[in-house]
Amino acid sequence: MADKPKLAICWFGGCGGCDEAVVDLNEDILKVTNAFDLVLWPVALDFKYHHIEAMEDKEITLSIINGSVRNSEHEEIANLLRKKSKIVLAFGACACFGGTPGMANMRSKEDIFQWVYEDAPTIVNPKHNVPQPVSNTTGYELTLPEFYGQVHPLNQIIDVDYYLPGCPPPPNLIYNAVSAAIAGNLPPKGSTLAPERALCDVCDRNKTKPDRLAISQIKRIHEIEADPEKCFLAQGVVCTGPATRSGCGETCIKTNIPCRGCFGPVEGIADMGAKYLSAFASIVEADTEENRKNLIESLDDPAGYFYRFTTASSLLKKRRDASKKS
């Protein structure tokens, strides 16, 4: 037992879906538990934090971390696991890019509190209570953690060795990543453990894509009966396939819904939305410049389409990152 490499799996500001994805290895999970000593996995096992603290630095071979960093608890444990681990793998869209909750970076903490504790239609709050870090109203002192004003991908907090994107990552890539860690043949530090090409390049519908793709009218997904074999862009529907990294197994496309980019940008691209916008602008077709402008403006909520999973890692709002507790 003692000779086995150690594996830690931990969650921060995620939804638990990444932990479910590990369970989705099904029978293969038994291979993982055979190859590794699991030293931490809060969702399934009872190991404690002090066990990790008591370890030597770098004693853990691999730490798989999912979820974004939203508060000081997450930050503390991220630092601890970094210190105790040889390899840190950012697992899933939230750890890699902030994920959908990163869209909260478009709003202030105050705005969220105002709705949640005052304005929502079911609120009954005559005393105008608001959750407090320290409160004494019950006659006892009760405490709550305080939150950062922004969602952070893991690499804004600690040094990350590898990335495995997806919401959640698919079982085959999880298994490949863990196997490579066991065999010691991981690629260079900083690599994303998924194919480099764009989703479009591997998409079955690519063969139906016309040589020259041109959109003259933008359609929302509920407005059309989507052809299950035809390229979504050719049907006028926003699909982020051209800018999104492949490796997901195209499960959304196979369900007849367009890509929303949970695998993040293709290799070498820092800002997914900017990349997509330039790709999108090149296929928008209109006879005059004004019509072209109108057509692009007819796209509702570009931020929500193009930065669905990557708002927190985008170049947008970088200045706000300067103050975590803003």
């Binding site: 939804c15 969220i112 929502a120 608001v130």
Partner: protein
């Protein structure tokens, strides 16, 4: 606060949820609080998104029960666009929904709660987990658990892309239908699920009901809480996970409300306390009465035990038989918190039987999967029974169908105040004279674990399952002991 952080860094690793227990001068439990420590704000950052994208965003509220969020959202879209799903589309949705009930109920029973009963409440914590369960029941059974979970999740994958983040869901329909070939596979999975549900039922009966110590525990006052109950029921007041009307019964079992989910805001209020991020739901017409049980309370519970108490039977024959046996043993209403587990297994059986019915329905493979006869209203309330209880998504849009208001009420929120009280009662029963026995930790945990609480959902925020830290404090508020998991 600062003291606590320094003394107790463990809390900060594992403290997505937290319990503070206060002792009086005699060392008995004076009070206990179950706190939820996170907030993420889906209700705000969804504003400005196209409504039809919501079923693809809200599953990130919780990756453990993403299908109920996906479905509540899709049903809200039906109202916003004023369309009913086609019969085939509705069957496809229910396929996904029942498959979810099966896999989610089993992940709770076998991975999270089962270890307490199958391995034992005071067993070695290192063995009190799924691997311990497999050791006890045998590897073949362990593989069967994996197989049922895998195949039911394959159904979700087939119709909604990713089980941990279902996509799709359109107003009046579904993006993709079912082929004849797929129908056959689904039918085999349904049969397997019924067979497995009966096995799980027997395992529960053999392990818990036939063990006098466990049965005494189930029936003890430590795990009893008298509240109202709320659940969705169909026209004949049978359990319905997908649709129906909300029914409320009082602690004596009398119906006190029966209403369309659209009217939820008239019946449900959310109280704000400074000591927790979760909003505490209560019956609005009674008003907030605080954390009390019995006739004077305005608190209600949701989830399997509530469905047992509120409904007048199950919708499928095998599940109905099991339900009758439960009624015979516990009577109605039952306030025994640990009885949540029993009903959970009966529900997994109903879901499996329902899966068989859906697979046999010739309409399932129909081509008419979209109703696009939109009568736009701009408003929609989607209500389903999530595995953990009543889930409500309420949206309003502008004329262009862009979201301008979101209100979410989720299962663990309804249960948050009762969970706090359940933990207090268990703590009071097991902590006496300042002596904190090691096994007490798990006894208190069993009180909240029965609810299968999902704090990710609860605050539209963090992970589905919760590690726990318990601080025991003396009458001056000093921490005298910390127990953590």
């Amino acid at each position: 606060m600062a003291n606590k952080i320094t003394i107790n860094p463990v809390t900060r690793l594992e403290g997505h949820g937290k319990i503070d227990i206060f002792l009086n001068d005699n060392g008995d439990v004076a009070d206990a609080y179950f706190q939820v420590t996170e907030l993420r704000g889906f209700e705000r950052f969804c504003i400005g998104r196209p409504a039809e994208e919501m079923p693809r965003i809200v599953p990130n509220i919780c990756g453990v029960c993403p299908t109920p969020h996906n479905m509540a959202s899709t049903k809200a879209l039906d109202y916003i666009y004023g369309v009913a799903p086609t019969p085939t589309a509705k069957l496809v949705r229910k396929l996904q929904y029942n498959a979810n009930f099966i896999e989610d109920h089993y992940i709770h029973f076998f991975f999270l709660a089962g270890p307490d009963f199958v391995v034992g409440p005071d067993a070695n914590p290192a063995e009190r987990n799924i691997l311990g369960v497999i050791n006890k029941v045998g590897l073949d059974i362990g593989k069967k658990v994996i197989e049922v979970r895998k195949k039911t999740r394959e159904i979700i994958k087939l119709v909604a892309s990713k089980p941990a983040h279902p996509e799709g869901g359109l107003p009046g329909g579904v993006p993709r239908g079912i082929t004849e070939e797929e129908r056959k596979t689904i039918r085999r999975t349904a049969d397997l699920s019924v067979e497995f549900a009966q096995f799980a039922m027997k395992l529960f009966k053999d392990t818990v009901l036939k063990n006098k110590n466990y049965l005494d525990l189930v029936l003890s006052d430590a795990y009893n809480l008298k509240t109202y109950y709320m659940a969705l029921v169909d026209d004949t007041k049978k359990v319905n996970f997908y649709e129906g009307k909300l029914r409320v019964i009082d602690p004596s079992g009398n119906e006190t409300a029966f209403f369309h989910p659209n009217d939820y805001a008239d019946y449900i209020g959310e109280w704000v306390e400074p000591w927790t991020y979760i909003r505490l739901t209560h019956l609005r017409k009674i008003g907030w009465k605080g954390l009390i049980e019995g006739e004077g309370t305005s608190l209600y519970r949701v989830g399997p035990l509530a469905r047992y108490n509120v409904c007048e039977g199950m919708a499928t024959p095998l599940a109905q038989k099991e339900y009758e046996q439960m009624v015979e043993t516990l009577g109605k209403p039952s306030h025994h918190t640990l009885a949540y587990h029993w009903m959970r297994l009966i529900e997994a059986l109903q879901a499996a039987e329902d899966l068989q019915n859906i697979a046999d329905d010739p309409l399932l493979t129909g081509k008419n999967i979209r109703n696009m006869n939109f009568q736009f209203t701009g408003k929609g309330v989607g209500c389903v029974e999530a595995c953990r209880g009543v889930l409500i998504h309420d949206y309003e849009t502008d004329d262009n169908g862009m979201i301008k208001k979101v209100n979410l009420i989720v299962a663990t929120q309804h249960n948050a105040a009762p969970i706090s009280m359940s933990v207090k009662k268990a703590a009071q029963a097991f902590i006496k004279g300042g002596e904190v026995k090691e096994g007490m930790l798990n006894m208190a945990e069993m009180a909240f674990r029965a609810y299968d609480p999902c704090l990710g959902c609860a605050t539209h925020t963090l992970p589905g399952k919760m590690p726990l830290v318990i601080d025991i404090r003396d009458h001056e508020g000093n921490i005298i002991k910390t127990i953590s998991r």
